[in-house]
């Protein structure tokens, strides 16, 4: 080995040692870049050492070139490993300052009115059973609202509902039942409709508002029975209030159905026990039952008024108050809140 070669190779080794000895001196990526240029740059220490390569014998050059390459790789690897360490440290620092608890840029939350929520839920159950939507006017004439429903003038049943009148023969509909009539006049049986909407009564106190919402249901076909009515309402009640809810049919009276029934469900507050926390349940007043709707088999006189033959067809009808169900379902104590539209109330219903 020539002396020239020997000194060349030693120079490379000392360069490598020099670089190793600088460990820990570069504290930032910038300093490390400077270090990289110092050793590996175009005019860096390695390049300077390589200047001596030209003076070597041609026979020494391959060994010298090989060694130079090894040294370059080892210095590069060394600096890369330092860079990886620095990167990891930087990233760790950044993560330690990342705060996932800052508020998100969430889109504004709107809400549907609880009446809409309950109405949709009830309608979904019934349309799932095959009922179709029907609609009718809120200002209704006496015939559709009363007479065709077997409530003639002077009938005491008119006392069951205090009516808001527009004129002698025009009323704000007192129930959604008038839409039964409109549906039947439009279409021959079979007929399965639901008619949700606003209704009006001349009544305003803690438990009554002059406007509220109802859903009317009507099924007319051959051989419809009270058993079908019980089944339909049981499904609806359990869907809305839970599968364990008990349903009770109590005989009652509505002019447009015969037989008529009121439907009670086991109290949502006390589970039908009548007491809650050892006290008489305030929702069912200790009876274990709460009334939620009225129903019955369509009265033959109603069929006659729309030209259906009561000897051929039978049917059932029911009408339920939405606010009542919403109050029970969501535990809303004061009916008037529904129409005050306080946004703090509205926002609670997503």
């Amino acid at each position: 080995m020539s002396n020239e070669l020997k000194s060349f190779l030693e120079g490379l080794d000392s360069l490598a040692h020099d670089c190793e000895s600088r460990k820990g001196q570069a504290c930032s990526l910038n300093e490390l870049d400077e270090l990289r240029i110092e050793f590996l740059g175009r005019k860096g220490k390695l390049a300077q050492s390589m200047g001596a390569l030209g003076k070597l014998d041609n026979t020494d050059k391959p060994a010298a070139g090989k060694k130079a390459n090894e040294i370059k790789q080892s210095i590069t690897a060394l600096i890369d490993s330092w860079q990886a360490e620095l990167n990891a440290a930087e990233s760790g620092k950044a993560m330690s300052q990342f705060d996932p608890t800052m508020p998100g840029r969430k889109p504004w939350a709107g809400s549907l009115h609880p009446v809409t929520l309950v109405m949709d839920e009830v309608c979904d159950v019934l349309t799932g059973l095959g009922f179709e939507h029907a609609a009718g006017p809120e200002v209704e004439n006496d015939w559709h609202n009363f007479e065709a429903l077997n409530i003639p003038p002077e009938h005491p049943a008119r006392d069951m509902q205090d009516t808001l009148y527009v004129s002698e023969k025009i009323v704000l509909r007192t129930h959604t039942s008038g839409m039964q009539i409109r549906s039947m006049l439009k279409q021959e049986p079979p007929l399965a409709v639901i008619a949700p909407g606003k209704v009006y009564r001349r009544d305003s106190d803690l438990t009554h508002t002059p406007m509220f919402h109802q859903i009317e249901g009507l099924l007319v076909d051959k051989n419809v029975s009270m058993g079908d009515l019980r089944g339909t309402l049981t499904v609806f009640v359990r869907q809305v209030f839970g599968p364990k809810t008990e349903v009770r049919f109590r005989p009652s009276f509505f002019p447009f159905t015969e037989p008529s029934a009121e439907v009670d469900i086991s109290c949502v507050m006390c589970g039908g026990k009548g007491t809650s926390d050892g006290k008489t349940c305030r929702i069912c007043k200790g009876t274990g039952w709460v009334e939620i709707l009225g129903c019955g088999m369509v009265d033959p006189n109603v069929f006659k008024s729309v030209g259906y033959d009561p000897e051929v067809y039978t049917g059932f009808a029911f009408g339920l108050g939405i606010e009542r169900i919403a109050m029970l379902k969501y535990g809303i104590g004061d009916l008037r809140m529904f129409f005050e539209n306080d946004v703090r109330f509205l926002e609670q219903f997503a």
């Binding site: 809400s111 809409t116 809120e138 009148y165 009270m226 499904v235 015969e258 539209n341």
Partner: protein, 803 residues
């Protein structure tokens, strides 16, 4: 309807649990509302015995009594009543007792003597108006007993809710019948023990009826020599238990029978009836009549009157006249027991706002067959309680006697309707138990005659209800119906409900809270918004002046909601409402046309006030953005046109929103003077959209897929400097109307308004980004530049702008 347990037991021997009775009757359709103790408010009063009674040394009107109240020691009570005396049994409220009026009895010192309680009068205990002195009780009462026990007062009264069809249950007798049916118990009617004493009532009184439809039956009995006084205690206490205030023996007897048997009765002073005649005939329009409450009533020809030979003496079935009523000195009585046409009574009672226990029963229908028994029993009680005598016989006119009603009954059909499978014998037993007679000689079609007291059994289907009711509607097996549909009607467009459901879902998704306001407001609310007076639909009998007219516009309700919220300190209101507005329409069968609207109201900050959202108040671009998002993104309709309109009733600026020629709504800022009324100190932005038009457009609109572009776009920006009065849309239109085929879209990307501009020469800079694209090839820069220059030239040519 209040039902006293002990009175019920006079008819039917029910000895079971009272809650079981109430529940059973509830499930028969007589809904129990509650069980009350009518004398709860005097339950702590005890029977005391006055052992000593001496004058108060300091006050001669006071007595110092030593009273034995059954306790270990007697108590001293200072009493001011003049009739208190040694040896009496008296009702005593001991210290701590709460009196019916709410006063609590405390120890007191009267003129230096301590008093431990109070000796009570009847009026203090609510038993009569008698203020004359303390109540002297039966000497046989046991000292220390509770007064309610000593007097054997009713402690159990049921309150039932009676549906209008069950007129038969407006009496103790009616409930006794249902109880007997429910528990299979015998029913016992009271024994009649009427002693008649000569003469002939038919000679003393002539009864004329003008129209048998209005009055199918009028019976009269005559009593002579009666003494009008307080009714006996047993009768008064029974009436009090039902919440009735006793009046006098004669009147109390009529009430007693009405509550017991359901037949309303009226007692006239016979000496005030002229010409010994009773005539039942209508009033005439405008005639005046003074009822016994001393109110002069104006009558119509629809009101039915009872007349004597000269004058009207009673408003039939509703209230007697002041000119013929029983008074303290009356000695001779005409007892009326009649049946009137229900609708007539109802109309009169409603029109005059004179609901009474009598009219309530008449308008639901009374038992014409029971009428005579009820009258006779009343006459018997009157004689027994007044010392009077009953003249023999009855003066009667029954132009329309009761006809038994027979109905067909097909058991198979009944079972099919109820969804039951019962033996025919069950139905037969039900009918017979309810007093019907059954002829089942044709097994397929029976004939069932219903009793005179079951006026609700008018048709075959009413009999089905009875079978269901007695079997228990709750016992019918529940099944799900097969809903069959016609092929033709099953394919239908989206329903209005479905459309509105979509709109509401959009509103909630867009960050708005759904509100629901009353459909009615006050005229004031509409006037305040300068809305026209024409076309309003008024409510004839509103609850209040602020609810007297239907909304002719969606805004008043939304603004009231804003006001309510501001009053609650909610300063951030973003709401929507879907509701009808109502316009008078003579063409409509309901005299009204109803229009579905969507109202949106924005008030306060645009975003949440929480970091990281930027601060900023909602402005025109927010309300407009909501409208655009709904129309273009939710409903997929064409981008609407927006045009400023002037002279709107309550908005300024007001912008009309159109698609093609159709106006789909308006939006803008509520005028400041109007907003002030609602206490809104910031801008109120409101939109009012026509959902009928939007729904029609949506139904007609079909979404068509457009193939995605294959070749890349090329973009050029241009900043247009123009007068501040030049609208963005005009620039947009000029760009789009330049006729450049490869121009795909135009976007506004920036607005800049230079500061310190010269008055009247204000300008603004609007920067647009134009996207060019060719459908079948990649555009070269040169080609795009050429087309873009054409756009700029068109702009310069058509608008007062520069670049």
């Amino acid at each position: 309807m209040l039902v006293s347990l002990n009175w019920l037991r006079e008819f039917v021997p029910y000895e079971g649990d009272i809650q079981v009775l109430g529940d059973k009757l509830t499930m028969l359709g007589l809904e129990l509302e509650g069980i009350e103790d009518p004398f709860e408010n005097v339950q702590d009063i005890v029977v005391g015995h006055v052992v000593e009674c001496e004058s108060h040394p300091e006050a001669e009107k006071l007595s110092v009594c030593t009273v034995d109240v059954g306790d270990a020691e007697t108590v001293t009570i200072v009493c001011g009543a003049p009739n208190v005396a040694k040896g009496q049994n008296v009702p005593v409220a001991k210290v701590g007792t709460v009196m019916p009026e709410g006063m609590k009895i405390k120890k007191a010192k009267l003129r230096g003597i301590k008093s431990f309680g109070m000796i009570c009068s009847e009026s203090e205990l609510g038993f009569s108006d008698d203020h004359d002195g303390i109540w002297v009780l039966d000497p046989a009462f046991k000292v220390g007993d509770k007064l309610v026990d000593a007097l054997n007062l009713e402690r159990t009264v049921f309150d039932f809710d009676i549906t209008p069809n069950r007129a038969d249950c407006l009496s103790i007798l009616g409930f006794a019948r249902e109880t007997a049916l429910a528990f299979d118990l015998p029913l016992t009617m009271p024994k009649l023990n009427l002693i008649e004493s000569g003469g002939n009532a038919a000679d003393d009184l002539k009864i004329l009826i003008d129209d048998p439809e209005l009055c199918p039956l009028y019976n009269g009995r005559i009593l002579r020599g009666v003494e009008t006084k307080k009714a006996p205690d047993w009768m008064r206490f029974k009436l009090m238990a039902l919440g009735q205030r006793p009046i006098s023996n004669i009147v109390d007897c009529t009430n007693y029978i009405m509550f017991e048997l359901g037949q309303p009765l009226h007692a006239f002073d016979l000496d005030l009836i002229e010409d010994a005649t009773i005539r039942v005939a209508p009033a005439t329009d405008g005639m005046k009549f003074t009822t016994l409450d001393a109110v002069e009533r104006t009558l119509t020809a629809n009101d039915l009157l009872i007349w004597d030979g000269k004058k009207p003496v009673a408003l039939a079935g509703v209230m007697g006249g002041i000119n013929s009523e029983m008074h303290a000195g009356s000695t001779n009585v005409l007892l009326e027991a009649a049946v009137f046409r229900p609708g007539t009574i109802r109309k009169t009672a409603r029109r005059l706002s004179l609901p009474s226990d009598a009219s309530y029963r008449f308008e639901r229908g009374v038992d014409q067959v029971m009428n005579r028994f009820a009258m006779d029993r009343a006459a018997q009680l009157m004689a027994e309680t007044s010392g009077g005598t009953v003249v023999s016989g009855v003066s009667s006119n029954e132009p329309k006697p009761w006809q038994d009603r027979a109905h067909g009954y097909r058991h198979d059909r009944c079972m099919s309707l109820l969804g039951l499978d019962l033996e025919p014998d069950f139905a037969k037993k039900v009918f017979e138990g309810e007093g019907c007679t059954v002829d089942d000689s044709d097994p397929a079609n029976w004939t069932v005659s219903s009793p005179s007291y079951r006026l609700d059994l008018e048709r075959e289907v009413d009999l089905y209800e009875e079978v269901g009711r007695v079997f228990g509607l709750d016992q019918i097996p529940a099944v799900l119906p097969k809903v069959s549909k016609s092929l033709n009607t099953s394919v239908a467009a989206e329903t209005q409900y479905g459309f509105i459901k979509g709109i509401k879902a959009w509103g909630a998704g867009a960050g708005l809270n759904e509100a629901i306001n009353y459909s009615f407001v006050g005229d004031d609310d509409l006037d305040r918004l300068n809305l026209p007076a024409e076309g309003r639909v008024h409510i004839a009998n509103p609850l209040s002046a602020d609810q007297n007219v239907l909304r002719t516009d969606i805004a008043p309700g939304l603004l009231n909601t804003l006001k309510n919220n501001l009053a609650q300190g909610n300063n951030h209101v973003r709401i929507f409402e879907v509701a009808n507005k109502f316009i008078a329409d003579a063409e409509s069968e309901t005299e009204t046309s109803e229009h579905s609207r969507l109202g949106i109201l924005l008030f306060g900050p645009r975003h949440a006030t929480e970091w990281p959202w930027a601060a900023g108040e909602a402005d025109f671009l927010d309300i407009k953005g909501h409208v655009e998002h709904l129309v273009e993104n939710q409903l997929k309709l064409a981008a609407p046109d927006f045009a400023l309109t002037e002279d709107h009733a309550y908005l300024e600026p007001c912008v009309e929103v159109k698609i093609g020629d159709d106006i789909i709504g308006i939006m803008g800022k509520v005028k400041e003077d109007i907003a002030d009324f609602y206490h809104a100190k910031k801008d109120v932005w409101l939109a009012d959209l026509d959902l009928d038009v939007l729904r029609a457009m949506t139904t007609a609109h079909a979404i068509k897929f457009a193939p995605l572009p294959i070749f890349p776009p090329s973009r050029r920006d241009v900043t247009v400097i123009g007068p501040a009065t030049l609208q963005a849309q005009a620039i947009r239109d000029a760009i789009q109307n330049a006729g450049i085929k490869i121009l795909e879209s135009v976007e506004l990307v920036a607005e800049f308004v230079p500061e310190n501009q010269e008055e009247g020469k204000e300008e603004r800079n609007l920067s647009f980004r134009l996207t060019y694209r060719h459908a079948t090839k990649t555009l070269k820069d040169k080609q795009v530049d050429k087309e873009h220059k054409k756009v700029l030239a068109a702009l310069e040519q058509n608008l007062p702008i520069r670049f």
